[in-house]
Structures are given as structure tokens and as C-alpha cells.
């Protein structure tokens, strides 16, 4: 009897984790601090998240990432779970998800649960079941680990409200970079509704931070914020469009993260979207550009301005590409340049810049110091002057790009 139950749960888990693997998000960081020192509950969250394992695709496994069900009434061309696909279907019960989450958590396999779902019957019904799972974990099991719920855009406001009270993070995927692409490939989804739902979550988060006139704090609403995901390479959008859309999302809805997911082959693909090799290099460059936007003071136009045809250079990281196109600003004197300029030197990260700023207050920096401070000097060398190093004509040399780009490859003749 026991064995049969395990078998079927095993089968379901196989189907429903297989269906969830195309969601890139895995973060379990930045939420409110909780612990179970009182001995009455299970789990803790403390600022930074933990990646408990890594799969051979290089992605971390931090949360138990599963679908509640992969039955779906929508027909999104890029999705393995679309209604017109012949993929095997399954559905977890509330108890099964709760059981898997707590048992995996007790063995230190995961940081928590990332629950997503196909749309069954109606958006409200689906969201209600997901909220029920989160509620059971929090209230009956006293689970204090991380919960990330994928929100269904059309669900009723009070369900979103409850989801935000139980979950650490809420997310809604914008799926594709332009409204036209969403309409073409996900005809049942409405980009306006998706934006409205993100706006709603933002407004609730803002409201949950305001104390009432008595000074009482309202309950926390999705303390780890909201995130979203865009599929890269399924439609014809260029990187400028994608990054422009990302900037909008960060600005309008205060998103914590925008994930870029290279469109990757799915079993039983749709006729509408031919399968390609996933554009992993492009995905990587987009993440680098995203970081420049958020932490390095770059403007989206600056990054895409140096990208021919609006697409980032796949051979060079976007900061290096920008520096090569703006050599008039270099070399930078490390001892005297301001923070903003130091952040624009290729090979200098935010931490290196922080260390340079604290140390140069007391003494003059030397070339060897930079090495110890964690700078990638091979990249930085042509763009800086510091005691013990001057690039001379290197900064303006014609073959500077060739020094960084991978060597040209002989094309296949046949």
C-alpha cells in the first residue's frame, strides 16, 4: 500500500517538475528574517538565500520548483503545458505538495517552495488552490521557510491579497518582450492584465509599509518583492527592446528581478515556434547588461547605443563594448577618478571600486594593490593609469578589440 502511494507520487513529481523547469527564477533571498528557535515550527530565512544543489545545466536548485498541475486551458506556443500539447498531465493534491515541501526541507534539500501552475477551469479556482497550499504550510505546519507563488494575472484581488500574506515573493511572467509578441504567441493572455496585476502587487506592497495612525504596522505583504520572466529568442525582438522593457518593469513596478530565459527546446513543440538551440550566450549578455543598469549607473541607451542593430555583442561583455566605443574617456586615473567613472572601467566590479575608494583615502595605490583588491586586470589594463602602470598607446590601439574577442573561427565550407 505504502509502496503504491510512493510510486504514484514519484511519477507525479517527475511530470510536474519536468513541466516547471523552464522557469528561471530561483532566488530565495531578501525576505523578512524568521527562524524556528522557539521549537514550534520548521525553517528559517536570513537575508541571503542558499543554493542547495546544482543541476548539470548549471542552474541552482534552491526551491522545490513544481507546478501544482500542468493541465492548462491556455495555448501559449512557447510552453510545454499548452492545451494543444500531448505532454503527460498530472495534478498534485494540496497534501502532496505540503508533504514534499516539508519532508525535503527537513532533509536540508531546499530553501522552500516555488509553486506555479497551469490554469485549470478558471484563474480564480487555480489561485485559490495555490493559496490553500501556502496557507496549510504556514498555518498548520508552521513552515517558516521561503515561499514563492506564481500569481495568476486574472485572479480576484482578495486571493492576491492572501497570496501576498503567506508568500515571500509573488511573480507574474510578462513572458515575451512586446505586447504584439504576447498576442501572437500567447493569445489567451492579455499584456494589459499582466501589467495591471503587477501594479496591484506594487500598490499593496507600498500600502503594507505604511503605519496606521496608531503606529501599528500592517502585516507584511510579499516581503521579498515581485519578479518576472521574459523569454528571449522566441520572437524577433532585439536586445534593445528587451532591455527597454526590463527598465520599464523595474521602474514602474519596483520589481526585484527580471529574469531572462533563453527559449529552449521543449518536448512536443508547437508548429508556430520552430525549435532552436537556446541562445545561452545572448541570455548571459542580457544578464550582464541588466546588472549594469541596476548597479553600475548605466542608462539603457548607453548600452544598446554601442550595440549594432540593437543586439548586444556576443563576443564582448557590454561594459567592455561600451568602453571600447568611448575610448576618449580613458585611461582613467584610479587614484583620482570619481566613483561613477571607476564603475565604468571594464574589470572593476562594485566591490573592487568600494575597496579602491576606502584604501586611496590613506595612501597612493599601486598596480599590485589592484590585483589584491579583486580587479580583473587583464581587462582593466588598457583603461587605467595607476602608479606602476600606464597603458601608453594601448588604449587607442587599433587591435584592442581583437585582444579581448575570441579568435575568429574558420566557417564550415560544407
Amino acid at each position: 500500500m505504502m509502496n503504491i502511494m510512493v510510486m504514484s507520487l514519484n511519477k507525479k513529481l517527475a511530470i510536474l517538475s519536468d513541466a516547471a523547469r523552464y522557469d528561471a527564477s530561483c532566488a530565495s533571498s531578501g525576505t523578512a528574517r524568521r527562524d524556528s528557535r522557539d521549537g514550534k515550527g520548521l525553517g528559517s530565512t536570513e537575508g541571503s538565500g542558499i543554493c542547495h544543489a546544482y543541476a548539470p545545466d548549471g542552474r541552482c536548485i534552491s526551491l522545490l520548483k513544481i507546478l501544482m498541475t500542468n493541465f492548462c486551458i491556455y495555448d501559449c506556443a512557447y510552453c510545454v503545458n499548452r492545451v494543444s500539447s500531448n505532454t503527460p498531465r498530472a495534478r498534485f493534491s494540496v497534501e502532496e505538495v505540503v508533504h514534499l515541501t516539508t519532508e525535503f526541507y527537513r532533509r536540508n534539500y531546499i530553501e522552500g517552495l516555488f509553486l506555479s501552475s497551469g490554469i485549470i477551469r478558471s484563474p480564480d479556482k487555480t489561485m485559490e488552490d495555490m493559496v490553500q497550499i501556502a496557507r496549510t504550510l504556514r498555518e498548520r505546519e508552521n513552515f517558516r521557510g521561503y515561499i514563492h507563488l506564481k500569481t495568476i494575472p486574472d485572479a480576484a484581488p482578495d486571493l492576491i491579497e492572501q497570496a501576498g500574506l503567506f508568500a515571500d515573493r509573488l511573480s507574474i511572467n510578462v513572458e515575451l518582450p512586446t505586447d504584439a509578441a504576447v498576442q501572437a504567441y500567447a493569445p489567451e493572455k492579455n499584456p494589459g492584465t499582466i501589467r495591471a496585476a503587477m501594479g496591484d502587487v506594487k500598490a499593496r506592497r507600498v500600502a503594507s509599509k505604511e503605519r496606521s495612525h496608531t503606529g501599528k504596522r500592517p502585516p507584511k505583504f510579499a516581503p521579498a518583492g515581485q519578479s518576472t520572466q521574459m523569454i528571449v529568442g522566441a520572437d524577433g525582438s532585439n536586445d534593445a527592446t528587451i532591455l527597454g522593457q526590463a527598465t520599464r518593469l523595474y521602474g514602474d513596478f519596483g520589481l526585484k528581478r527580471v529574469y531572462y530565459s533563453a527559449f529552449s527546446p521543449i518536448p512536443d513543440a508547437s508548429r508556430k515556434l520552430p525549435l532552436i538551440k537556446p541562445p545561452l550566450a545572448r541570455e548571459h549578455r542580457l544578464y550582464q547588461a541588466d546588472w549594469l543598469l541596476r548597479f553600475y549607473g548605466f542608462d539603457v541607451d548607453e548600452i544598446t547605443g554601442v550595440a549594432p542593430g540593437g543586439n548586444l555583442d556576443l563576443d564582448l561583455d557590454p561594459k567592455l563594448a561600451w568602453a571600447l566605443a568611448h575610448r576618449a574617456l580613458f585611461p582613467v586615473d584610479v587614484q583620482r577618478a570619481d566613483r561613477e567613472m571607476l564603475l565604468r572601467v571594464p574589470g572593476f566590479g562594485t566591490r573592487t571600486v568600494g575597496r579602491i575608494l576606502t584604501t586611496r583615502r590613506h595612501r597612493t595605490l599601486r598596480y599590485e594593490d589592484l590585483q589584491r583588491m579583486g580587479a580583473a586586470l587583464k581587462k582593466a589594463r588598457p583603461f587605467i593609469t595607476v602608479r606602476g602602470w600606464t597603458p601608453g598607446a594601448l588604449t587607442d590601439s587599433a587591435d584592442l578589440r581583437a585582444r579581448f574577442a575570441p579568435p575568429p573561427e574558420q566557417l564550415q565550407l560544407i
Partner: protein, 484 residues
């Protein structure tokens, strides 16, 4: 030459006490010989062992001030002592002595000694982090109502002691043991104890490991194989104690063919139920004048008549009873309204609510809406600055306003601000001259007044006060008109 013995458990405190004692006695770094637990002696010329004063930590002899250290050094030392390098204690003490002459050294990231210590600190932090991540518990039954789990782990550095509190915070409601060759941590009934290490215990395989393996195999996407990325974050040395790692070779070996298979597979025909479900799910399309308020809202959400829909979050429909006697028309949704999807909830809306309350106007009985339904703005950094809609945008959106008027059939329309005025009367000029009057239009009677955001923008409090009184009078007049 002085030899200091440091214990395996409680090393950090012992090092700190010993270092303080040595400093008070002004022992130079080259005369201190540090020995950890039962490690073999490294200094060939060491003197016979003299036990460090462990039971009673060295106290400052009279007349001497205890050494002071800059902020940050204690954190550094408390981490570095757990490193596996036998030189760690000597390096720390050496750096501590250098700090006495030059406390600023602690923030000099170019200093070679500090750089070395920081690297060691980073190694220990990483090792502790990996321990938090890769310890795998196995169920070993219940005892006295608490579930019991045990794990075997082989850390690179001496990280059990500094990391054990993390596990107590996380697994407070169960008993657990983390056994390692170095130190074993035991948590029973809410109490943590540390004891010496032990050989690998024989732990029975856990039923959950099969499920976990299933999950691990299926969350892997064979189309994006990045073995190096995996190995740099999850080094092979940890694999032997992780139940999921046994699946890795197989996953790597078959990834290529699985990905190819997916690409070569011909598209299949959709299952029969698909057509039926889709027919039900797809929303009815149409472009005729909506007959109900909810129908109007639904159609408005899909509006793409002008370019404003591209940047705005959502179209904001009007709100209020469908048989309201008064309809209030404002300009356009602002930042708050755009996010909330409801009209008049931002600062201007709140001001309006307040003044309307004073004028005796019941907002609940009124239909409020805007002349333009999408938020128009200019982005500056993370802020969205309001921009007035232009003639074309107002013209495009008029269709929706007319649809609302046709639905509600109000007795009177209150037009607030120039945009509403233009939409309703076709002319925006002379707003301040026309305010307070009723104009007859093809939409019915329109009462003209200013927009509440005009009050918010006035430069002085006195002006604001005077204008608010006027605005309140306008609203009071409107209240009277609809009551009559």
C-alpha cells in the same frame, strides 16, 4: 619562545584570550608558537611545551591598558581561526601586532598580509555556506515526540562550530546530529552540544531520497548543458555525501541525445479536448458600443486606440453607480491610479474627497471618471512624471467617455480641468473665466470647474486656501443642482 595550545572546540575564544595575554606581555609574533588540538608540532626549534593559561584568561597586569583593535578585526579573526591552514593563528597574531602601530591597516585592501587573511576569511565563509547548503539529513526515527535526523559531512575547514547555530535556527522542532571527522554537532530538545569528531556512522538510506532524485533528474534541462558552471558551485568533493549526485553522470551522458530528440520530433496534432477548451476560453471579440459597465471595463482593458497604452500599466475605467445623477470627469489617471486601476485615489483624488465631503457631496453616489483613460508620463530615473495628454489622445479617448455617458445618463456632468473641458465641449480656452457656469453640450449640461491638482500646485498657502474655498463653493453648487 612560548607555545600556546588551542582546543578544537571553542578555538575562537581561546585564541582571543591567548592573543590578549601575549600582547600584554609584549611577546613579539616570532616568539609565539601556536598549536591546534593534536596537530603535530611544526616548529623544529620549539621549546618544551608550556601550557597556555586556558582556564583563567590572561588579565591585564596592573598599570597596563588592554590592547585595542580597530572595528572589523574581531570579525576577521573570529572567521579566520576556523581555517584549516596551520599558520592561521600566527598570521592573525602577527597582523594584530602590526595593527597596534597602524590601526588604519584594517581598511587597506592592498596590504599583502591583510589580503592573505581576507582570502582565508573568504575561504571559511564559503566553506560554511557550502555546509549550510550541502548537509543532507537522513531520517532516523522519532524520540519523545520529536523527529530525529542525522547527517555525515566532510567540511574543508573547521566550520562545524560556527555553522551549527544556523541549523539550530532552521531546524528548531526536530533533533539532529551533524557528524564530521572534525567536530560533531548534536541538537537535542533545543540544546546544542559539540563533541569531538567521529568516523562515518552507518546511516540507513532514506525513503525521501528517491523522490529527491526524481526531482533532481527532472528539473534538469538537457538542452542547456553547463557542466563547468555546476562544478564550480558544487565541487566534486561534496558529491559523495549528496544523494542526488549519483544521477549526475547519467544526466550528462544522455543530455545531448535528449535535446536532439526534442528538436527532431515532428509537431504532433493537438489532443481532441484542446479545441473544445480553447473555444470556451477565448474571449468573445467585438467592437460595438458596450451595453453594460462590466462590458465596458473589459473592452477598455484592450484599448489600443492611441500610443498611451504601451507605457501605461492599465486603462483606468470610471467608477460609481450606473444610475448616478452626477458624473465627474477629471483629466487622466496619475501614478497611483495607474497602479491601482481605480480613478481618483492619488493625492488629487484625496484632496477632492476631502473638499467634496465638506461641500456635502456624497462620492459614493457619483460616477467618477477621466477624460483620458491611460496614464501619460515621462520617465525620469525611477520616477514617472505626469504629462498632459495632447489633442489626439483626448480625441481618441472621447469614444470611451461617450460610452460611459451613454451608459450612466447623468443629469449633470462636472468637468474638472482643461482636458475634461476640451473633451466635453471641444474647447479648452478660458477655463478660469468659464468656471462656475453651466454649459449646454451635446452630452447634456456640463458644469465647469478647475481640477483639484491645480490646488495642489499653487505656490502659497494663502492662495491655496482661497482657491479651495472657491472649489468647495463650486461643489456645493453642484450638490444643490443635482438635489433639485
Amino acid at each position: 619562545m612560548e607555545t600556546i595550545h588551542l582546543p578544537r572546540i571553542g578555538t575562537a575564544q581561546a585564541w582571543r584570550d591567548a592573543a590578549r595575554g601575549l600582547m600584554l606581555r609584549e611577546v613579539p609574533p616570532e616568539d609565539a608558537l601556536w598549536r591546534f588540538a593534536d596537530e603535530s608540532q611544526t616548529d623544529l626549534f620549539a621549546c618544551p611545551v608550556r601550557a597556555a593559561n586556558r582556564a583563567a584568561p590572561a588579565r591585564a597586569p596592573a598599570g597596563r591598558t588592554p590592547p585595542s583593535v580597530p572595528k572589523g578585526f574581531l570579525d576577521l579573526a573570529n572567521t579566520v581561526v576556523w581555517h584549516a591552514d596551520p599558520e592561521r593563528f600566527a598570521r592573525l597574531y602577527d597582523f594584530l601586532c602590526r595593527l597596534q602601530d597602524n590601526p588604519r591597516l584594517i581598511s587597506d585592501r592592498g596590504d599583502a598580509d591583510l589580503a592573505r587573511l581576507r582570502t582565508m576569511e573568504k575561504n571559511v565563509r564559503r566553506c560554511a555556506h557550502k555546509m549550510k547548503a550541502f548537509v543532507r539529513f537522513r531520517d532516523v526515527g522519532d524520540a519523545a515526540g520529536r523527529r530525529r535526523f542525522a547527517a555525515w559531512f566532510e567540511p574543508t575547514h573547521h566550520t562545524v562550530e560556527p555553522t551549527a547555530p544556523f541549523f539550530t535556527r532552521r531546524f528548531g522542532d526536530m533533533d539532529w546530529i551533524i557528524a564530521t571527522p572534525d567536530v560533531t554537532a548534536r541538537f537535542e530538545d533545543g540544546r546544542l552540544t559539540l563533541e569531538d569528531g567521529q568516523p562515518k556512522p552507518d546511516l540507513p538510506e532514506d525513503g525521501a531520497e528517491e523522490l529527491w532524485g526524481t526531482y533532481f533528474r527532472n528539473i534538469f534541462n538537457p538542452a542547456r548543458l553547463k557542466v563547468q558552471a555546476m562544478c564550480s558551485e558544487m565541487p566534486r568533493k561534496y558529491w559523495k555525501n549528496m544523494p542526488e549526485a549519483r544521477h549526475i553522470p547519467d544526466l550528462i551522458a544522455h543530455a545531448g541525445e535528449r535535446a536532439l530528440e526534442m528538436q527532431l520530433a515532428a509537431p504532433t496534432l493537438p489532443p481532441q479536448r484542446a479545441e473544445k477548451i480553447l473555444k470556451q476560453a477565448r474571449m468573445p471579440q467585438g467592437c460595438t458600443m458596450p451595453q453594460t459597465q462590466s462590458g465596458l471595463t473589459r473592452e477598455l482593458r484592450g484599448c489600443a486606440r492611441c500610443p498611451l497604452h504601451r507605457d501605461a500599466t492599465q486603462a483606468v475605467p470610471g467608477e460609481g453607480p450606473a444610475d448616478a445623477r452626477l458624473m465627474i470627469v477629471g483629466e487622466q489617471p496619475g501614478d497611483h491610479e495607474d497602479l491601482a486601476g481605480r480613478p481618483f485615489v492619488g493625492p488629487a483624488g484625496q484632496l477632492f474627497d476631502r473638499v467634496a465631503g465638506e461641500a456635502g457631496l456624497d462620492r459614493q453616489a457619483v460616477y467618477v471618471t477621466n477624460a483620458v483613460k491611460h496614464f501619460k508620463f515621462r520617465r525620469q530615473g525611477k520616477r514617472r512624471l505626469h504629462q498632459p495628454p495632447n489633442r489626439t489622445e483626448i480625441e481618441h479617448c472621447k469614444w470611451w467617455l461617450e460610452a460611459e455617458i451613454a451608459l450612466v445618463k447623468p443629469k449633470l456632468i462636472l468637468s474638472m480641468g482643461a482636458t475634461a473641458l476640451q473633451s466635453l465641449t471641444g474647447r479648452r480656452e478660458g477655463l478660469l473665466k468659464r468656471r462656475g457656469r453651466v454649459e449646454d453640450t451635446r452630452h447634456g449640461r456640463v458644469f465647469v470647474t478647475v481640477h483639484p491638482s491645480y490646488l495642489l500646485r499653487l505656490p502659497t498657502a494663502a492662495l491655496r486656501e482661497a482657491e479651495t474655498v472657491k472649489f468647495r463653493d463650486d461643489l456645493a453648487q453642484v450638490t444643490e443642482m443635482i438635489a433639485a
